[in-house]
């Protein structure tokens, strides 16, 4: 809990001409980012991100889903769930932690589950079976800037995900005449639309990389204080500056960045003209962040 005088102290130092933050960063510096992928062997893709103490582990697990079931979508879908470990929020009750979990899951789901980001290689048997990608994130500790770190972890885990290669097969009774005498081998993939089942082609390889790697978005949290903004707040700055604007940008290679989600959180209001300049600033930060993460993820996947 921060007292009123501490809040006003932090606010006045941020608003001064030469802004000062507790650890000497500039207004637009992130704390050191530690990123590791492939940490969980049983998951199809996993990552751990630690930004100045805020640590999140994300893992993807693929399961087969029937397209005709209530939630199934032809072509596969992504479902995200965030859970907060009790050690991350020692001062909150479990009901409050449930609420935080739910809000974070909703944000991830509505952004990453949107059809514009859906990967193209999640289908197994068209109109019958597809992959359901379960993205589970665990918040291990939270010392500020939870949204940015959550999206970084989700993005890295999705980057690391490999989809097992499947092959559609069709069962046919021998000597059955169904028009022309077709080749009755199980390798007849031309008949995939009528395929009844599938099998894993190769048990030993991990599979194809999940499509749409460069489309996964990053989140930029702009903490707003009067007409200024700053990035990566630590917990005391979070308490002193409650209003923030979340901008979730997807920066595919060599294309214009696209806004995949926007949220205004906290008690406070902004003027519409401010929104314009904030979006432009956020776009710049998003491109820079995507570039650095990309470099790190690229080198990680080359090493594997």
């Amino acid at each position: 809990m921060t007292s009123k005088s501490e809040k006003s102290y932090i606010q006045s130092s941020l608003l001064s001409d030469a802004p000062l933050r507790a650890d000497g960063r500039s207004l637009w510096d992130y704390r050191s980012i530690f990123l590791e992928t492939g940490i969980i062997a049983q998951a199809n893709g996993s990552a751990r991100v630690n930004v100045g103490g805020t640590e999140i582990v994300a893992a993807c697990k693929l399961e087969v889903e029937d397209v005709e079931s209530i939630d199934g979508i032809d072509g596969g879908r992504i479902f995200c769930a965030v859970s907060c470990s009790l050690s991350a929020y020692p001062h909150l009750s479990s009901a409050a932690i449930d609420d935080i979990q739910y809000d974070l899951s909703q944000l991830l789901n509505s952004t990453l589950g949107h059809s514009s980001l859906r990967p193209s290689n999640l289908s197994i048997l068209p109109h019958k079976r597809s992959w359901l990608l379960n993205l589970d994130c665990i918040v291990i500790s939270d010392v500020g800037n939870i949204y940015d770190v959550l999206f970084m972890a989700a993005r890295a885990a999705l980057w690391d995900t490999h989809v097992p290669i499947t092959r559609a097969i069709e069962y046919r009774a021998p000597q059955r005449t169904s028009g022309d005498a077709m080749d009755e081998s199980g390798l007849d993939t031309r008949q995939a639309a009528q395929a009844a089942d599938f099998e894993l082609k190769d048990y030993w390889t991990e599979g194809d990389i999940l499509d749409g790697r460069d489309r996964w978005p990053v989140c930029i949290t702009l903490n707003l204080i009067s007409s200024k903004h700053f990035l990566d707040a630590d917990p005391r700055e979070d308490a002193a500056v409650p209003l923030r604007l979340l901008l979730i940008f997807s920066c595919p290679n060599s294309q214009k960045p696209l806004l995949q989600g926007t949220r205004l959180i906290g008690s406070g209001e902004i003027a519409p003209s401010e929104f314009k300049s904030l979006v432009e600033a956020g776009q710049k930060y998003a491109m820079a962040l995507t570039k650095t993460l990309h470099a790190k993820l690229q080198s990680d996947s080359l090493q594997q």
Partner: protein
């Protein structure tokens, strides 16, 4: 998979809604018409807004726009028992979907989806209220969604209804909060989209603002937009919000006139 509810007679564990012939035909139309059906892109559906629906509440309102019907009741400011002293009042927004409000029946128990709408409506209303004048008190806003035509429309209409009800309850505020949803369908901005239009759109953009002060209190966007398109949506919604503000003001004036006469 219904959870066992001891207080009610539970139906069969697994049941699905019936599929009617017209629904099936509608689903098969995957190529949808380019122009909007029934109204212009920038037209919103006519709003029916009235106050005084719930007599035992301090303030209440009912809003209806075509297929979205929402009733809102405000209780407060009242004392928050069992809570430590807080010098700024608390705003508590609770949203409840009636079980018959959606095409698939919703459980009467509190659902997780209710919370996301409550959070958005609370975010919209919070900056407009003078909560620093209400220490140790809380204001409860209960929103019941009687018929639902898409989540964005619920959030927008819910915020409008809640702000009207708060004004009806006599709670001091900086200005009325109006809210408007929009959808980006291909290259056009359609204001106040219905549920089907939102599904077709590639992005939806909802804002809540206080026209009296010219500030924006809530922005919620999903889907894919470029930065310039987002700014255009914001401006379109803002212009529309001024019209909605007139509707709210006249509804409040009419109800006050009716009370006095």
């Amino acid at each position: 998979m219904a959870s066992f509810d001891r207080r009610r007679i539970n139906g069969p564990e697994e049941s699905r809604p019936p599929v009617f012939e017209d629904d099936e035909d509608a689903e098969q139309i995957s190529v949808t018409p380019k122009t909007r059906k029934g109204r212009a892109n920038k037209d919103i559906r006519p709003i029916f807004l009235t106050t005084g629906l719930i007599s035992q509440a301090n303030g209440s309102s009912y809003i209806e726009t075509e297929k979205t019907k929402i009733a809102c009741a405000v209780y407060g400011p009242r004392q928050i028992k069992n809570a430590p002293y807080n010098e700024i009042g608390k705003l508590n927004v609770e949203v409840k979907f009636a079980p018959f409000s959606c095409s698939r029946r919703r459980a009467p128990l509190r659902d997780a989806e209710d919370r996301s709408i409550s959070v958005l409506i609370q975010q919209s209303l919070l900056p407009s209220l003078r909560l620093e004048l209400l220490p140790k008190s809380g204001i409860d806003v209960f929103i019941t969604i009687i018929e639902n035509d898409g989540v964005e429309a619920c959030v927008a209409s819910g915020a409008v209804a809640a702000s009207t009800a708060l004004a009806d309850a006599g709670i001091e505020m900086f200005g009325l909060v109006t809210s408007c949803a929009s959808a980006m369908v291909e290259e056009e901005i359609w204001l106040d989209p219905t549920a089907e239009e939102t599904v077709r759109a590639r992005a939806s953009f909802t804002i809540a603002c206080i026209p009296a002060l010219g500030t924006v209190t809530n922005i919620w966007q999903t889907g894919q937009l470029t930065a310039e398109e987002a700014i255009c949506c914001l401006e379109a919604c803002q212009t529309c919000c001024r019209d909605i503000h007139n509707v709210m003001a006249s509804a409040l004036l009419n109800s006050q006139a009716a009370k006095c006469s």
